[in-house]
Symmetry: D4
Subunit: 156 residues, 8 copies
């Protein structure tokens, strides 16, 4: 059992959905030999608790004009929460996390072109408390697939 928040059945259900986010609950239920209602109830609970999200991801490398980039943002400590709150509401922001290391916040943005990327960077730098923004462009996305770490890692 990988962690105390998910019980073994939660864990199996999540694994099924990580293989295919739209797998029918009926199929998940059959695969795990539990009633469909159980699957439905558990997924609902995990979503309500913010543990599980079912996301539609469009690969920018496959779309003509869309540009994907990472912003690494240094923020004064007292402004961290407000900056995160602001960035989280921008439609261009596809991913947002608090980091520990050479930056405080990692932001992934999806823009139309170089000029809107530059404008967005200027806009982030203008937020009160933002001290520095470093930009890293993403040329191609190769994989996006989340998997809960298991007790016995598959890496060995």
């Amino acid at each position: 059992m990988p962690n105390s928040i998910l019980d073994p059945l939660d864990y199996e259900i999540v694994r099924e959905l990580q293989e295919d986010g739209r797998r029918a609950f009926r199929e998940v239920a059959r695969n795990l030999s539990v009633p469909e209602a159980t699957v439905r109830t558990r997924v609902k609970r995990l979503q309500d608790q913010g543990i599980l999200q079912i996301l539609a991801f469009t690969n920018p490398s496959k779309l003509g004009q869309a540009k994907l980039a990472l912003f690494f943002v240094s923020v004064a400590p007292q402004d961290h929460d407000r900056v995160v709150d602001t960035l989280g509401r921008w439609s261009e922001v596809s991913y947002l996390s608090t980091t520990l290391g050479s930056a405080d916040v990692c932001v992934q943005v999806l823009c139309r072109d170089d000029e809107s990327l530059w404008a967005l960077q200027q806009k982030v730098r203008s937020l009160p408390g933002v001290e520095e923004v470093r930009v890293m462009q993403e040329v191609k996305v190769h994989k996006i697939r989340f998997t809960i770490p298991t007790v016995q890692s598959t890496e060995e």
Copy 2:
């Protein structure tokens, strides 16, 4: 129309799924006033072309022990494709992209604890062609939601 690969209907369908990755095709069809079969066919085609993915994301900040981190990897040019290929097959890797800037490859990994994170970093550094690995830990994920950039950005 934001780009030439998605036609306006494709675009509307993707938008519906970006709001809720498991929204029933029937509901999408009703919202867009098209037959359900059209939605189903188009989603199938976008998935087959690698443009659209429906993902289950479990938030590590909500799970007790899981550690999320970003590796920024510098790779010799002739080894780039092979390194990407290798990393893409590891179960700990949740996200993988080719970048332009201070690193060549951006890898997001999900591990059980500090020691497996360290072991994974050592493993990446041992891949032939890898010149440097910088690590940035992610303490909390605030947002994960992809949206196709529109012609009229909402940022103004």
Copy 3:
């Protein structure tokens, strides 16, 4: 056709002038089998639109005392436009662009000697909004020749 702003004939005319900026319009017209007046009109229009410039470049490596250097300038976002405007009016500035990455503005300057280079750097640093200036001296210019990118790159 490399881009939608230049039509194929514009493109051919520009190519002729990129080979020799003073090539007679008569010769360009003959090479492309179009009337001389067409060439003249089109060049005039491209220049008026700011797309084409015919420049005289004197190679500092061939002149005794002249020093060429690049300044990489970090500017606060709200001061970007004003700094660009100011630098653009200085006679020592031979090239000026907005950049995305480890600096915000790239400035090429041409000075008489080390001391005026130093004085110029101090002057840039004193502009309101300028946060940092990094200097890179250019010892020798090997090539200066702009070519519009083609659809089929010559690099393969």
Copy 4:
């Protein structure tokens, strides 16, 4: 007189062409009160000596798709001349100089899109003797105009 290679008349002629690279020799001659043949001969000599070049520059900011970027390349000393020679023959390279400071060679390139920019960077990194390539994208060119430094700088 700014330097010993150009005599005062050379200097005046260059100044005329820096105002307009295609100014007719007749007009230059009239402005400077010298015979047209003198202007023609002197310009020819300065071009033959590699001191003067008349260039056609197309502004990438005005062209839809073209991407302009600077590569800062570190090269092992024994490979410097060969790398410069190779880069100078590539059609994507619009500017090439030897620098003193945090890089050895500065290369400006003009590409069609992000993917060809990335491919070009990989190609530069693969040249024997190249140790590092840093990339800085140029979003907008504001000025390109070379002026010989005068004895009395206009900066005071």
Copy 5:
């Protein structure tokens, strides 16, 4: 209970010794209302398991000539264990840990003077697998006292 390896009594005993490393077992036993033999047995077990060490620390700031410095060492992954093993046997090394971030190994050394510090740095750099050594001198030690983190941190 802060962690599962130490039970509450272990934890209390360690706390007593963290206040004074030479506190008599009799006094510890009296403070915690347990038999002295229990204290003795438990301390012995914790020492045997490598969990607890009683250290004599001499403050270099109080000694005339001794120099204290930190070395941050980058090591190739396949050489990590051997380098750690070698450094751990040197008498000048007072502290040695594996780190995650901008270095792989952190080494604290205690030398007689600048010249032996320099010689030691050269010696570390000469170890096979060592890629880089950065040095940070310590001018004055203000505190050295380890405390097990509690469930309710005192920091709030």
Copy 6:
């Protein structure tokens, strides 16, 4: 004699305690052929002068949840003493020194988990005068043992 503050007997006593911090004074006295009272008096004096400390160190690598990290803190000169004073009183701080080089203060902290480590970093950054905090996590402690440098180093 390594330095003028410790006389040869002090030095021998310290050496005995560096081998085992709880070695009985009787045993030290016997090993050095001096009266036990002499050992006791001298150790007392060295401790009172702040030269010698007997420390209990619990190895975080052996404890489940405890996280050890180094903070490298840049502090404005006028705030140095106050910052050192504040940090020295925090229970999470296990080691604190003034450094010369790329930081001003080196702080070792011991926390329960990633989130309290991040909170502690934010707290340090919020102290008046603190300009920057860099974090380096320690994954495993291999050695902790202080030894006074001898006149004849054992390193040759």
Copy 7:
């Protein structure tokens, strides 16, 4: 003739003194076949013009306790002259120059020990306009001898 400020005889005299700063004027005169008074007058003039200095240098590597270090100081442009003026009056400062690159002022200092080096660094950082001070310690001086560059360098 290497430069226009020194005539060939000045140049020969300086060369003689660069071999031995205390060489008697009589010996210099004899070596160069000119009257001693000429040598004396010329040396006096070069010293009065600040071109020539005869310095006594004591090698810190040969003296027990003295510590030599370089400070690289970043200074706000408007404070440069005042900072240089202040530093130039400090007795610990043995060398002071204005630099172009990653710092603005280079200062060599000679201190008694680590603690006075640290105090001096803090003192420099406290000067108004000083933005950053980086320290590099000098362990051993191998050569100190200035030679005017000749037209034909001896390096080929």
Copy 8:
């Protein structure tokens, strides 16, 4: 007495010469009330021991063309002595020291112009064992005067 190698009289003599490197021994002797022969003997001994040097320094800022620069050289440990030995024999090298920090060797060079500075940098980089050379140009020398640190610093 500042250090044990110079006795108080040595120290006073050195101080006299640091004020004026060519001060007559007779004058030094009179100032210190000792026989001239004593001064002469002691200066001779200090010079023979490599403790004292009398140097002629020509200020490059006062000479038209001469360029002064600092090279910070990283050298593999096993090549350090040979590199120092080689650099010490070059006529362009005016100062050479072994450093501890972000470089291993600090070299001051005096060149005729930018091109010979660049050539010299390339030559240093080509020496076996040299890993990196960073260049810092010196625009103006403000002070050069060495003073032995006293017991009571004048800085307080």
